[in-house]
Symmetry: C2
Subunit: 336 residues, 2 copies
Amino acid sequence: MHELITLNHGSGGKASQDLIQDVFIKSFGGMNVALSDSAILQLPNNQIAFTTDSFVVDPIFFPGGDIGKLSVCGTVNDLAVSGAMPKYITASFIIEEGFSFQNLTQIVSSMQEQAEIANVKIVAGDTKVVQKGKCDKIFINTTGIGILDKDYSFISTGEKIESGHKIIINGFIGDHSIAVLGARNELGFKADVETDCACLNDLIQSVLKVGINVKFMRDVTRGGLATVLNELAETVNFGVELNEKNIPIRELVSGLCEVLGFDPLYLANEGKVLMVVHPDDADKAIEIMRNHTLGAESKIIGEITKEHPKIVVGKTEIGGSRIINMLQGEQLPRIC
Amino acid sequence: MHELITLNHGSGGKASQDLIQDVFIKSFGGMNVALSDSAILQLPNNQIAFTTDSFVVDPIFFPGGDIGKLSVCGTVNDLAVSGAMPKYITASFIIEEGFSFQNLTQIVSSMQEQAEIANVKIVAGDTKVVQKGKCDKIFINTTGIGILDKDYSFISTGEKIESGHKIIINGFIGDHSIAVLGARNELGFKADVETDCACLNDLIQSVLKVGINVKFMRDVTRGGLATVLNELAETVNFGVELNEKNIPIRELVSGLCEVLGFDPLYLANEGKVLMVVHPDDADKAIEIMRNHTLGAESKIIGEITKEHPKIVVGKTEIGGSRIINMLQGEQLPRIC
């Protein structure tokens, strides 16, 4: 086995085939052998969710995860928040010449590990190799198909949202940003925080399958909680009131944000889902979520209001309130 | 509208939304508005083809096409050669900071133009922006879903191939490689050759729908005709005999290959399909294909043989024969 990826591995010829055999097929057992062909899939019913994401995180390895884990969880979560059960994923790699087989193998193993956890199959792929300096180590695209067993389209649009509905998050915010910044040595000191990167489909299905009246769902990634809530408020023409003191955040993360001048509401997450539920179901939803490993710190963090439509207002700990805008600039490039 | 892409456009915040509105939604009308969500699709039947491809071609504009056209045609063709009718495509962009909106808009228009020709919808997308120097201008991933109205899985595997079956190609080989090399100024002189990049689904369906007994199909891209035929020979354990004088190639391309020391059998194409058909159907297939704009130069170029299993043999113009191996190195990096 070669030790470094060369341009030959992207040629479509013999070396490409070796790469597919030695690295991809070994991990992604069910993958289409030719890998340049289409996977042929039998779907159990007719309505599907279809989503794509490219991952360019820098660095590619960070506490609690790597670009491979991220690439599978990210697409699984996009499908899951649409109410779908993720089923099939494609994986497409753009690799810089000189990248090590060892790192590639590790990344591919992370992908397969998460795919098994999420019960999805990686069924087709593609590899391109570019000259040294023409990309940064490795970029991964994953595109996924999920199955919908009923029509959940209102969950993405939030069209059934009304005033008084409760806003829930499944745990600590900001861990992913801090883990990646730490790995970049941009914190100035070592922070013992791991990414929250995780496949949320099981947690989400555990809420949906007992019939919790979920009105809206979105994974909270780039742009953070503030951006998701602003998009929501804008779309549904309601206001959002956030009880900032209820938002789960690790003391360490909150402290770092103070030192570094970050607002944690804008930090990226990779294992957080925001749900809006009917108030009658809020406690039950919290109970179910807290029984799940990925929801142990779930909390009601705010509610939908008729006041100040399209505006997200945060009630601060000391009783004041502030307007929380959508992320305006780029707080943290290449966080995912 | 901003003139250059900045890191802010990849933040997931306000600037990302503006980019989506100003560029993507304008072209891809049917696209999911949020663009970070899943598209929800209703499929007319249960068996689907699913394929992915990332495009890193350099340069991004070349005679007869650009990276956007390539990215739609490539995925459409991967679906089409599996016997599927392409339906839905996702588009994911990795963009270098400082890339111009004008070029992005042009690329996105090319994508939409090809999507309309191929009758596919671009339904979901993603955009990441990386710092200057961390990728080369723009990379695009497209992932597609196609519908199969009957079981064509044998067409990808070639399992029904037998000795005596005829090998057909739909026209001139090598144009894409020469067009891209020319645009890179690597030919040493100006070559008046355009890429053959095109969506082949209509041509392919015109053959399938009249019941032509197609035994195998593959689009001939990276690695060229030689690589496709070697993969085929290896998989089905038959030999391939190629009449080299019958292979359609422009005089200009053939002349350039001689000068530059390229073997045209290894040149990449983006609008060529290789079909293996039952000999009784070969003439009819040729007739149908020649009636299609994308098949006017279709020819029978060889046949499957029991002799020399797994080996591709070329009969040369002067009556000799040579063994044609799979592409060993990287003839032309970043050709797609």
